[in-house]
Symmetry: C2
Subunit: 167 residues, 2 copies
Amino acid sequence: MSDAIPLARTDAALIALRRILRATEQYERELAQAVGLTPAKLRVLQILSAETGRPAPPSRLAGRMGVSQATVTALVDQLETRGYVLRERSVADRRQLLVRLTQAGAEALAQAPDALQQNFVQGFQALQDWEQAMLVASLERVAAMLNASGIDASPVLTLGEIGRPRG
Amino acid sequence: MSDAIPLARTDAALIALRRILRATEQYERELAQAVGLTPAKLRVLQILSAETGRPAPPSRLAGRMGVSQATVTALVDQLETRGYVLRERSVADRRQLLVRLTQAGAEALAQAPDALQQNFVQGFQALQDWEQAMLVASLERVAAMLNASGIDASPVLTLGEIGRPRG
DNA sequence: GGCGATTCTTTGCCAATCGAAGCATCCCCA
DNA sequence: TGGGGATGCTTCGATTGGCAAAGAATCGCC
């Protein structure tokens, strides 16, 4: 069991990473389902919402999501059908569209409240101050390591809206 | 706590988490592509490989991957067609199948060397001993928090084979 | 004025995934 | 010993997410 080789530590780190990954993916799925959406569509709404209400062109959404524009088109189509977003032509550049979150979309999004980060946020906030700081530092460090290869890694909070003292 | 708004820290943690997520997903895609496989199929091979060569029943694969058995059936079908795995009936319980990694499968897997964790593993191993320990502790802590909702979170190293000092 | 670049959509395709139904086999218990 | 229910897997049908390539509208520069 207790190996002498130091590599076991790398293993442990990767295993933990993988668990984080899986847990988060699963959360995302559950969250989406709770709102009656699919994960991809939910992500669109979340990105839009994270832009503080400003409409965003499909190209931007594609960049943020790391998918092609064709995919975004399909997703926006479906969201538009449900009335969660709407397309408006940009006046400055008429080639460009702007996808805007509607009232209905924002409400749908709001229905996916904590549910998701419940566990994490609660656990996190129960920690001592220095522990929180350490965790954040560690996570950012890991992210930086992984990100060394130059991924965009937009800071979009796909995990749901956060930092809102509910109520 | 001294800070006026402690929530900013939660935000930071979630953002970092999200970046880790995205980076890893993208890595996975690249890795799979390098081997000429899709992420899902690659994952099957990896799990099989992680079991140190012992064949595993589809149910186990499904559990590890967090997908349904129907999905595993489809994936194994395709891997079998390519000769990367083969199915054998269990003698102990003839309802059960065992999926075994073939030589060809192992070789395909071996072609997906580091590539993936290159960045992470190298960065990680360059750290001081205590830093490594701290990171592992932090990651495991985060995983535990997320996992509080009772996700299986198998310790399978879907990130690829690890602990290999690159040759 | 026109040609190349940009932005989005359309079309046609494939991979991943699920639920439900179906089938073989096992195991318990009367 | 023989059912009957549980278990393990596959099949079937459907949906979602995703891409590449071709098409259409518009822009901007020369």
